[in-house]
């Protein structure tokens, strides 16, 4: 006990220095998570809260819109992450060893959409695709084609959102891959060249395995980001047509802020938190391994 007191006194300054971050972490991250879990077990009105156990979760799994949202979210995660990794690997592998100015140009070109707000990007796409007054349907009409509505067709709305999100986010992955590839020791490439390895062999046997930690990082970060996909849905499709493009985050938002079903929304939040936690485990394990 005495030792603990002494240790506490010794380390007081250190604790106080980390206190601001710790307080912010507890108040803005830990507390909302605990409160979210608590709320998911209640039916909440403006005037009272009634404990309902797992009723909110039961309602969720019986709700076809929630099931649709989950399926859509999984589709988005698989396609956007796969496209991002494959395309970013392709571009990075093609340019990482070229002239520095050229590499900078490529990096800059792909990174510009990342810097532009997703809201602005969605609005631009909306301007292009709006069936009433959008540019693409207008051009189609001028060319005497039948009316085009990519956002109103349940078969095309998901590919459009996948493309828009992918195009906006891929720059980040390209930056990370190029940085990672530049860091791969040159002697490995030289040795491979001496052994007569082709460019394809070098990429698949040396480059891709050497940037594996970056790939894992990009996959996990993108999965987490895509799980939370919201802005593009809100601004481009509103979840439609007939909930064809609703995602978990959009479903949560609707329940929390439009329908005022805080209990249901919290239950969705808890489910999303658990999915994210499970997906983050490989990264966490990798982090602790280093230590």
């Amino acid at each position: 006990m005495n030792f603990n007191k002494h240790a506490l006194k010794e380390n007081l300054t250190g604790y106080l220095f980390i206190a601001p971050q710790l307080i912010l972490f507890l108040v803005f991250l830990v507390y909302p998570i605990i409160e979210g879990i608590r709320l998911s077990l209640y039916r909440i009105n403006y005037t009272n809260e009634v404990f309902v156990g797992f009723e909110n979760y039961q309602k969720l799994f019986l709700n076809p819109v929630f099931v649709k949202s989950t399926i859509n979210t999984v589709v988005f995660v698989i396609f956007i992450v796969a496209l991002t990794v494959i395309f970013a690997l392709f571009v990075s592998a093609a340019v990482f060893d070229k002239n520095a100015k050229y590499v900078s140009f490529i990096r800059g070109s792909y990174y510009i959409p990342v810097m532009v707000s997703m809201v602005v990007m969605s609005m631009v796409w909306s301007f292009l695709l709006n069936p009433a007054n959008g540019l693409i349907p207008y051009i189609a009409k001028q060319m005497e084609m039948s009316s085009i509505n990519f956002l109103g067709n349940p078969k095309t709305v998901l590919p459009v959102i996948i493309f828009v999100t992918f195009a906006t986010n891929v720059g980040q992955a390209i930056i990370l891959y190029i940085a990672s590839m530049i860091g791969v020791p040159k002697d490995l490439f030289e040795a491979a060249e001496v052994d007569g390895a082709s460019r394809t062999t070098i990429i698949f046997k040396i480059l891709i395995p050497m940037v594996k930690p970056t790939t894992i990082y990009i996959i996990i970060m993108n999965i987490i980001a895509v799980l939370k996909i919201f802005v593009v849905i809100q601004l481009l499709t509103g979840g439609g047509p007939n909930n064809a493009s609703t995602t978990l985050m959009y479903f949560l938002y609707n329940n929390a802020f439009k329908f005022n079903q805080l209990g249901i929304a919290s239950a969705v939040g808890v489910i999303m938190f658990l999915i994210t936690l499970v997906l983050s485990i490989p990264q966490l394990r990798a982090m602790f391994k280093k230590d």
């Binding site: 220095f17 206190a19 007939n242």
Partner: protein, 463 residues
């Protein structure tokens, strides 16, 4: 060494405290701020876009908040109990519920909200509003027709102070009708033209066929939208076109019958025939309005305020000028389908007695002040005295009055109406995209809608 350590400890202590500095509570009623002994009370008033200007949209610098800023200034000059400052904020209609839900759940509701009362009824059911019975006197009850008081009464209490109302109709571009050879269907400038459903179909078909493509390129006969819940009252009206009553006496949806299905079939048929703008499932009412103003649509939805604002924009050169007139939404029976939005102020239960009292006094002030109530002419006044005063200046008031006999209560006064609105447009989207047949869309809407109403009834504080 000790000094250094002390300094570091003190510094880290300050850092730790600074992290909490932003968490202090906001003071609502500040003591002795402005003049002499009077306390300052700060109120927040929110409104969705209604009319521009204090009295008229043609005023210099007219905007949606002009009236309330002027009213607040006039109120605080004559108010004896407190120094009152009113922060006026205009919020987009489609963001109203999100904003209010966040504010209510965060315990910081606005003091006053001015809006069409149909969209705010749920907040009364949720116990978020305070009754206004104590600020409604006999003079007001006499001057405002009982119909309007009924609209703003939930259970036994009045929750909104009626200010004006906005009848919903069609607006049509008479120039486009003329260009398509449809002169005989054009009503008078101060008339709300009533077409039979058959005539309306003829108009739509002729517009599609005969509208000169060189003068009106890429134009469509009718505006149709289902992206979200905005302006869905017109969609609700279309669903009544063949005589369906929509709600039964218990407040349940009864759309799923032959008449309701026929209405959905009519919508689908009209859409598929290219008599409306394409992509209705992804088009919002705002898009339709913009297209109408740009003469890309001949017949679109409107209400009295939108109609006046559009005319004012034309006068100010902000929109292309054309001959804009009003028509009723037709029905199979020949009687027009008409509804109205009563707009007025509600006071939120902020748990602060002082703010609630001052808010009520302010609401009473701008809802009864002889000068300020004249602004209700921008819509249609709920006060008989104001309507009579402006009858000669606005001949449409008489036309709206004539229409009043056909009014239907589109909300059915059911609890959960806001959420009910959220289940309609996905079904319309499914209808327009062909994902569901008219029968299935109507059936699913009734099922989901009645579930919403049932849940909301269970949770309502008003029994």
């Amino acid at each position: 060494m000790f000094k250094k350590r002390f300094l570091a400890t003190a510094l880290s202590g300050v850092l730790a405290l600074s992290a909490l500095a932003g968490c202090s509570d906001k003071e609502s009623s500040k003591p002795a701020g402005g003049s002499k002994d009077k306390k300052t009370v700060e109120l927040s008033l929110m409104l969705t876009p209604q009319w521009k200007g204090v009295m008229d949209a043609t005023e210099q610098g007219a905007d949606y908040d002009s009236f309330f800023k002027y009213a607040a200034d006039k109120f605080s000059k004559q108010y004896k109990d407190y120094d009152v400052k009113v922060k006026v904020e205009v919020v987009a209609s489609e963001q109203r519920d999100e904003l209010l839900n966040v504010k209510l759940n965060g315990g910081t509701p606005p003091d006053i909200f001015f809006e069409n009362t149909f969209a705010m009824g749920d907040y009364a059911h949720r116990g978020a509003l305070v009754p206004l019975n104590d600020i409604v006197d006999d003079a007001a009850k006499k001057d405002i027709d009982q119909n309007y008081w009924d609209t703003v009464t939930f259970g036994k209490d009045i929750y909104f102070y009626p200010f004006s109302h906005m009848p919903g109709t069609f607006a049509y571009n008479a120039d486009m009708l003329k260009a398509a050879g449809l002169e005989k269907y054009i009503g008078g400038e101060n008339e709300i033209k009533t077409w039979t459903l058959e005539e309306y179909e003829t108009i739509l078909n002729s517009l599609k066929k005969d509208l000169p493509k060189d003068k009106y390129p890429n134009a469509y006969p009718m505006g149709l939208y289902a992206l979200n819940n905005q302006a869905d009252t017109w969609n609700l009206a279309y669903l009544r076109m063949f005589g369906n009553q929509f709600f039964d006496k218990k407040g349940n949806i009864v759309l799923d019958d032959a008449k309701g299905v026929k209405a959905a079939e009519w919508l689908k048929k009209t859409y598929d025939a290219g008599l409306t703008n394409p992509g209705a499932e992804s088009v919002s009412s705002n898009d339709v309005l913009a297209m109408f103003k740009n003469q890309k649509i001949a017949i679109a939805f409107t209400n009295s305020v939108l109609f006046n604002n559009t005319k004012a924009e034309m006068e100010q050169g902000k929109a292309p000028k054309f001959d804009i007139r009003l028509a009723n939404i037709p029905s199979e029976s020949g009687d027009p389908l008409t509804f109205t939005y009563v707009s007025g102020a509600a006071v939120f239960n902020t748990q602060d007695e002082t703010r609630i009292k001052v808010s009520k006094d302010f609401v009473k002030f701008f809802s009864t002040d002889p000068e300020l109530v004249k602004a209700s002419k921008n819509g249609v006044p709920v006060r008989t005295s104001v309507a009579n005063e402006f009858k000669s200046q606005n001949p449409l008031f008489a036309a709206y009055d004539k229409n009043a006999q056909y009014l239907f209560n589109f909300t059915g006064s059911v609890p959960g109406y806001s959420q009910l609105r959220q289940v309609l447009f996905p079904e319309l989207q499914a209808l327009y995209t062909g994902q569901k047949s008219p029968e299935q869309a109507i059936k699913d809407y009734q099922k989901n809608g009645n579930q919403v109403i049932k849940d909301a009834k269970e949770n309502s504080v008003i029994k």
